[in-house]
Subunit: 208 residues, 2 copies
């Protein structure tokens, strides 16, 4: 992912990528070693929330770490150049650095879970049974401020060495995107329950 | 990602997930802070290769780190439960821990780049111009042994609290997968060059 790559620090890029991404990879230093785990997240204004079980080793380490790194990556395409060397990937990614503040107040915790749920599937929070106090207590929520965040983006066609444009090698881009298939009802679904709009029309890239 | 989650340490799961994934997130400790970057990779037997520019700060840090963490995540679906609390994600992920050995010998470096290229797009190595010695020298390659690797997998329907099965809430799974669209030829493509088989029939989940 090296050619055509540009760091974009402006806020609009960072927010747009964070809002389109579904999951992040959270990096934490545990006993001097890096751990990288996939997890759901959501954004509320100038902060990102992640959540997990209170038993999660990584979340506990994150809560006491000086800094974590939260990375969101959208893969847009494989860039096939005429030379192996200039092969690349079209992608948009954001890295957020900062301390992860444990969210302990029940009202902020519930609000944060709503943000994460609505981030994944807009409309879902109102449709499902809300968390009980006991469920809230079993859930760890961390907030990371977007004070230190940057985006990297690569788009467009391959960039080949000038001499290579004469080669008889096909070059171009294979577009890639995360796509949703038709929803599969739970085997124990009550009779007569059809998928609601927020499920039936769901697509990751068009969920707002 | 907490319910129905199972750690699977057996080799077959680890290898299957590594072979199906397209990209990884590489975690490295830089000056005591975690950095997580998306990058391409490929597997050759019991090791994984990653590559990048020799100017890459993260790769240089990885090469001298006691241990890195390489995580590959395949997202298979959103698990919509009747309660917010039991919402989850169907996914398969692998975490590989270990030192990242710099690959310096030109022949192993070329072989590793072939592995990474063929991992992304099988058939591509033979189709494109191979790297020159100068291009090889400008490329950093790291090898990470699969000595310490584990997989986590969640599959299937939501798991709700027994009492919640009576709620009038639709529940089920929205399948998700990375899908390829029709290839887009480079604007400077030579006339008469059609996409070859390895491009035309490309799909991330069915590339072997």
């Amino acid at each position: 992912m090296r050619r055509g790559e540009r760091a974009r620090h402006d806020r609009d890029h960072v927010l747009a990528i964070l809002d389109e991404g579904l999951f992040c990879h959270l990096g934490v230093v545990v006993d001097t070693y890096p751990m990288v785990v996939p997890t759901a997240y959501g954004r509320d204004g100038g902060r990102v929330y992640v959540h997990g079980s209170t038993a999660s080793r990584v979340l506990r380490a994150a809560a006491s770490a000086a800094e974590v790194c939260l990375t969101v990556t959208l893969v847009d395409g494989l860039v096939l150049a005429r030379s192996v060397f200039h092969h690349s990937v079209n992608y948009r990614s954001v890295m957020v650095y900062g301390p992860a503040r444990p969210v302990t107040a029940a009202d902020e915790k519930a609000a944060a879970l709503r943000v994460v749920t609505e981030h994944l599937v807009p409309g879902r929070w109102e449709a499902a049974r809300p968390p009980t106090p006991k469920e809230l207590a079993a859930t760890s929520v961390l907030a990371i401020a977007l004070d230190e965040a940057s985006a990297k983006v690569r788009t467009g066609a391959p960039v080949d060495d000038e001499a290579d444009y004469d080669l008889d090698v096909w070059a171009g881009v294979i577009p890639l995107a995360l796509a949703a298939g038709a929803a599969v009802g739970d085997p124990r679904l009550r009779p007569g329950l059809d998928p609601p709009d927020h499920v039936r029309s769901y697509q990751p890239a068009a969920r707002r």
